[in-house]
Symmetry: C2
Subunit: 411 residues, 2 copies
């Protein structure tokens, strides 16, 4: 929802889908800079932003969008009706600015759909069990869409973004990147967790848990985007089965810092002493590496969001004294590079090949972590482009039809 | 609520009043250009603005203001909580964009006040008996404030505007204009009806009907403004009783056009044929003058808002043909000049003096209408300044203490 032009484009897509016999519920986000502008206003009037009032302030952005989308639809002959999160019965807990959805009632949505209307719902917001307006935090609008799709048992939840789908790598860095035709939920989860910005992790988790097929696409074009589906629901043919790729994509995350606690005693309870206070401060620690012990002492490194670096250092410096560590060092900006692919489960040696490729490209690996379908390494931030391009080429993502299966028909 | 500075100024006033032992409910309007910007967005996306969606869109303006006011209050140590019209139980009828208040529940307001909090309420909005968000139309925020003051049996409803009170004339036109210390509801009603922009007619009516004392003042200064009170509640002393003025003020309204239907048959039913379709089109006809009949035919002139001139002319031209009128003429811009004063009831000759003063100033009178406490004339728009200044001086408004009574003490 960037601007009025975008709203009109979305209305065209909605009208098309509706006219082809589908019931449509539209979930909107705030327009372009609306949220930033509101936060700027808040900063101008006060340094104190109570969560309840901040939520009241920020939820206006989606309300503006939803009213405008309804007007744009009315203009092209589609009968639409807007609903706030509260009106549509998105019941949340009472945690302002990052509420969790407890229940979706949806009675008014069903009424509107039965009456042949398109329903337009404000994303990112709900009403708490205490009758207060709440917001869902990051990725809130996507989460609203998936939650409503699940509650209404929708055929598909289309996510309109500013890109045409999920790519094998960030096309701004790897020009040869290709759009993926489909992905399974686990792969999308790993990609989101590894730093892909296309879909919020939380909304993918919600979609997986409720088995809601997602279609990631752009409101600026009519082309098919990327489907995110349960593995069993994926479209395959003999050819695609034969050429099913091992790797779906390479993802970078450049928003992290690395902190190392040097020379701590290698004994039980040290990790807990370090990471418990970080967790209590809501600092999202990502990768953790502990060196081999030497003379009964070791180094512990971990990554955390750049935005939390200052707070994390304060905590770690305090803990370091308590546990008798020699020193605390940090690198403000590191890059995490991840290879993601469901095929990894049955293909050994992916990690080894990854390390070889990076070594050949002259990229030094600082940390490593893996899941069954992902290998992530932390490298110097300056090596991001080199690492991404080398891996994209080496794992055969540059060319060929990774997923050549026919697409689900547009209804 | 012009901008962040204004919001902080309002917060200071609220904090002062709260700290002096008062329970305070603040009703906010949208900031400066917010409403215009929202309407502009609506025009950009669509030429169709369903009332329900327009109300949803416009009500965001007050929500932004109320959250910001709460934050500004929190910053100076005042515990405040915001409420939408819906949350506070302002129940309206179902007429979108100009709903009427049916009931004010106010339970959550009373709870907040009992808890020692300042309540900040979004003006201009309510929730309909059909659970839809509605807006109250023009003067909606003032009306909300008066309605809440009545429901809560408040000591006073303070109206903060961009002027320091109600003046004997518009100070931009008549530099000698003085601020009035008090007025009764009837006078304020006549002034609002005659074109004074300080208070919306509707909110004054509401205040009179529920006997809510109003205090019109500026958020930029701490000086006392103008009190609008029931006649019996006005503060008087011997001196003021002796010098009670006949005229409280001179008011201009330059937002009207004049239409004349020339040469219509002087017979029953003609007026109805003319004015019924205008009323059906929601055109607010103000003054009507019918000339003395001559040869069984007459001319009918009336004034209507400039904004409705085009629509009014279409209707009148249609009717003119049907009723066999000779012609329809119009003046796009006329000025209505009104003298208002409760003392007129007991002072004969005010109208005659007014006509004499205007004649001496070379101002031609085109139409006349009167009430018991008001005389209005329509003059050429170019004569507005001359007429206002001549009347202001002639009726002794330039100098002297028209209302020299002591003011109600600030609590």
């Amino acid at each position: 929802m960037a601007d009025p032009e975008r709203i009109k484009a979305v209305a065209e897509h909605v009208a098309y889908t509706k006219r082809h016999g589908n019931d449509v519920v539209v979930v909107v986000s705030a327009m372009g800079k609306t949220t930033d502008n509101l936060i700027s206003l808040a900063n101008q009037v006060s340094s104190t932003h109570p969560g309840r009032e901040l939520d009241m302030l920020l939820t206006t952005g989606e309300r503006i969008s939803m009213a405008l989308v309804c007007m744009a639809l009315a203009d092209i002959g589609i009968d639409a009706v807007s609903f706030t999160g509260s009106q549509v019965g998105i019941i949340t807990d009472t945690v302002h600015t990052k509420a969790k959805i407890l229940e979706v009632k949806g009675d008014r949505l069903r009424e509107a759909l039965s009456a042949g209307k398109v329903a337009v719902v404000a994303g990112f917001q709900g009403v708490s069990t205490e009758r207060e307006i709440t917001t869902l935090g990051r990725g809130g609008s996507d989460t609203t869409a998936v939650a409503l799709a699940a509650a209404l048992n929708a055929d598909v939840c289309e996510i309109y973004t500013d890109v045409t789908g999920v790519f094998t790598a960030d096309p701004r860095i790897v020009p040869q990147a290709r759009k993926l035709q489909q992905l399974d939920f686990e792969e999308m989860l790993e990609m989101a967790g590894a730093g892909s910005k296309v879909l919020a992790l939380r909304s993918v988790e919600f979609a997986r848990n409720h088995n809601v097929p997602l279609h990631v696409r752009s409101s600026f074009t009519w082309e098919t985007g990327t489907w995110v589906l349960d593995r069993s629901a994926q479209i395959s043919s003999k050819e695609t089965a034969m050429e099913e790729p091992i790797i779906s994509g390479v993802v970078q995350d450049t928003g992290e810092s690395k902190i190392t606690v040097v020379g701590v005693a290698d004994k039980p309870g040290i990790s807990a002493a370090l990471f418990e206070p970080l967790a209590a401060a809501n600092i999202n620690v990502d990768m953790i590496v502990q060196n081999t012990s030497k003379d009964g002492r070791t180094d512990i490194s971990f990554t955390a969001p750049k935005a939390d670096l200052k707070k994390a250092l304060e905590i770690v410096n305090g803990v370091a004294k308590e546990i008798g560590a020699n020193d605390v060092t940090h690198v403000e900006s590191v890059a995490k590079i991840s290879l993601v692919g469901a095929g990894m489960r049955t293909s050994p040696g992916i990690a080894a090949k990854m390390f070889r490729v990076l070594a050949a490209a002259g990229v030094n690996i600082e940390m490593i972590s893996t899941s069954t379908i992902r290998v992530s390494v932390v490298v110097d931030a300056a090596s991001t482009e080199t690492a991404l391009r080398a891996l994209h080429t080496a794992f055969g993502l540059d060319s060929g039809q990774a997923y050549s299966a026919p697409l689900p028909e547009r209804k």
